[in-house]
Amino acid sequence: MRFLTLGGVPLWRDARVLRAAAQIISVLIVVIVAVFVINNVLDAAEKRGFSLGFGFLEEEAGFIISESVIEYGAADTFQSAFLAGVLNTLKIALLGIILATGLGVIVGVARISSNWLVRTVAGVYVETFRNIPLLIQLFFWYFGVFLLLPPVRESIQWPGPVFLNARGFFAVWGSASSSFSTWIWFVLAGVILALAVRVAAGQVQSRFGRATHPNLSALAVLVILPIIGWFLMAESPLVRDVPELGRFNFEGGLRLSPEFAAFLLGLVIYTASFIAEIVRAGILSVQKGQLEAARALGLNELQTMQSVAFPQAMRVIVPPLISQFLNLTKNSSLGILIAYPDLYFVSRTMINQAGRAVPIFLMIMGAYLLMSLTFAVIGNIYNRRVRYVDR
């Protein structure tokens, strides 16, 4: 029995051994389950004739995707089709996150406004859209609003000109001329300089206590530089591109399909109602004394929000906000129901046209995982910056 003891304590009563054994056993269980699952999939796939290779990605896809960020046609490969789907998902997710955050912050602040009407409208908004399933809202926006707009030839015209019809939203847009590539450098310089100005002015303000308006100054630089560039160009870098009625539809200009517009609107309105509550909770978490102190210093309402309430609210807001971003990204797979060709929709079509369910599902899972993890990492880095630091 001596070899089963460790420093006089029997192995089965040694806390360290028991702890290690527990860890090893749990690892073993995970490994065994994983091996079993993988073998099972391979086994079943083989028996049923599901092919598991990824070679088909090089083959011609043959189907069309309604809208795509990259050039994609039926003659392109399955690989490009998948990429087009991924980019469509990223497009709706990024735009959705930006707009939903903006709307959510406004509504969240409005919910704690001292104005009765503003407060009530915001409250009704949140309670309505937070409590109706997203799918139903999407159907409503697409089939109930956008598709009921008048046909192409009876478009609603707004000044601009902007046209609204069952084919979507058409507006004047700038199309790049030959001098655009030179002008874009002015825009880039404006962005970089604006960032520099903001940092410098911010440091001067906090160091010397003089109001230098860092945001306003940065904005001025951001706007003025491209304008100077515009007038230096011989030919104006952007040409007015007006949508015109062609044989079937409007051509030229900016165009948003009803599928994209309805989907973006639905996602933004739904997600913003959750973000509004997160923002409200964040602001309410700031100690009352802080706000009173700000007022005592003579800061007005806007300054109090901007310089006192928000910086402290951020550390409460950011973690749940990140999960809302992830939710929005994953909810973008509902696009399949209103004909928005997102990653999931394109993959479903690929499964059917290529007959490769297992590899394509792995690709779908991998793509969503990668996207969600990327958003989460970026969010966590930001969260670390706004977290309360003990000094």
């Binding site: 460790l6 420093g7 051994v17 290690a20 090893i24 690892v27 073993l28 490994v31 065994i32 994983a34 091996v35 993988i38 073998n39 099972n40 391979l42 086994d43 079943a44 796939a45 083989e46 028996k47 049923r48 004739g49 599901f50 092919s51 598991l52 290779g53 043959g62 189907f63 069309i64 995707i65 309604s66 046609g73 039926a74 003659a75 089939f143 598709l147 009921l148 046909p151 192409v152 069952a166 084919r167 044989r247 079937f248 539809n249 399909s257 009803p258 599928e259 399949i336 129901l337 209103i338 004909a339 060709p341 929709f345 479903r348 079509t349 499964i351 059917n352 046209q353 007959g355 369910a357």
Partner: protein, 389 residues
């Protein structure tokens, strides 16, 4: 000293874990990702007993799959034991698969399922219909989740290789375009630059791309997963045209608020042989379904209908008597079917012509579509079946 024991202990377990992973890895690389066809050809190599007819579909591990998919014996035994035929179909297309006034599943495709149910179970109603979308068809039949797929499935070589076995073409169709008559478009070649609504995961979607590419025409599409959405978007003016099999266009138009406001263009841009499909790997079941389809076609050819089938059993035509099991054999016992299964089939759904006319004939329940290519071969059409003998 203590430290060393602990390290030994840990590394031992670590090695075991590694070995388990490595084994898994080996299995993964050894498992050939082949089609069932290949697996069937070399059952011995896969370590399976080659004695039964369906070595490739046998599930060795009963815990691995839900009971429905496990096949101990053949699909025929499975269906007969279960007492119902599970059929993948649809409930959203007039004429082919819809709910009739009583709320029952009805339609051309549904009756083909009923015919098979009548043949193997003896009751045309011993059938459960699972409605699926167009893009679900492939995976559903590939996985063997259903006994029969009868949902406007076009037979193509790729699908034949990947999805399952195509039995007998029961409806010859072709793809066409529908446009609002107000647009004044009279030919598909006028559609350059048009927006077209279409269902995803169909041959239609592929043919559409091919047609526009071939004619160098610009195309915009709106692609829906759900067939009903395609037509509601088309009706609300989202698209200039919609495309599908011509029979489907006729079916859908009959349900529009104003059918006369929509016209089907003359061009037929593809061949769409609509054919029921069974899973790969079970030859007996494949033959059973083909034979049932042959019975439907032969019955029309021989003038046997649901009304006269009893009398016909004592017909003086030996071919009819053989089909109805009153005399001789045409392979029923080898297929594992009762001698008189054809009687059950015809009593349940009638012959091919009766099924067609019930839904799409002059007084059809859904709409009227001239039989055209779907006439019997001896009547100038393409519907033909091997003899029953």
């Amino acid at each position: 000293m203590k430290r060393k024991y602990w390290l030994l202990f840990a590394s031992l377990f670590g090695l075991m874990a590694l070995a388990a992973v490595a084994c898994g890895g080996d299995d993964a690389t050894q498992a050939p990702a082949t089609q069932v066809a290949a697996a069937t050809a070399v059952p011995a190599a896969a370590g399976q007993a080659p004695a039964t007819q369906v070595p490739a579909v046998q599930a060795a591990d009963p815990t691995a799959e839900p009971a429905m998919v496990v096949q101990e014996g053949s699909r025929l035994d499975l269906v007969q034991d279960r007492g119902t035929l599970i059929c993948a179909g649809r409930t959203d297309l007039a004429g082919f698969g819809f709910l009739n006034a009583d709320g029952d599943n009805a339609g051309f495709d549904v009756d083909l399922c009923r015919a098979v149910a009548a043949a193997v179970i003896g009751d045309g109603n011993a059938m459960e219909l699972i409605p699926i979308t167009a893009s679900e068809r492939g995976p559903t039949i590939q996985a063997g989740e259903v006994d029969l797929l009868s949902r406007n499935v076009t037979w193509t070589s790729t699908r034949d290789a990947q999805w399952g076995n195509y039995t007998t073409t029961m409806f010859y169709d072709g793809q066409g375009f529908m446009v609002p008559t107000a647009t004044g478009i009279t030919t598909a070649l006028d559609l350059d630059g048009a927006t077209v609504c279409v269902t995803s995961g169909t041959t239609t979607e592929l043919n559409l791309a091919d047609f526009f590419r071939q004619h160098g025409m610009a195309l915009e599409t709106v692609v829906f997963e759900d067939t009903a959405s395609v037509y509601s978007a088309y009706e609300s003016g989202r698209c200039d045209a919609t495309t599908s099999d011509k029979s489907q266009l006729a079916a859908v138009r009959s349900g529009f608020a104003d059918p006369a406001a929509h016209g089907i263009l003359p061009e037929t841009i593809s061949k769409e042989p609509l054919t029921p499909v069974v899973a790969h790997g079970d030859d007996q079941w494949f033959d059973v379904v083909k034979t049932v389809m042959s019975v439907l076609i032969n019955a029309e050819e021989l003038g046997v209908t649901a009304a006269n089938v009893d009398a016909m059993q004592s017909s003086d035509n030996v071919v009819i008597r053989r089909m109805l099991g009153a005399e001789g054999e045409f392979g029923q016992s080898d297929l594992g079917l009762s001698a008189t299964f054809a009687v059950d089939v015809i009593k349940a759904v009638g012959n091919y012509g009766e099924i067609y006319n019930r839904y799409m004939g002059p007084n059809g329940e859904a709409f009227t579509l001239p039989r055209g290519q779907n006439e019997l071969w001896n009547n100038g059409g393409l519907i033909y079946s091997p003899p029953l003998r």
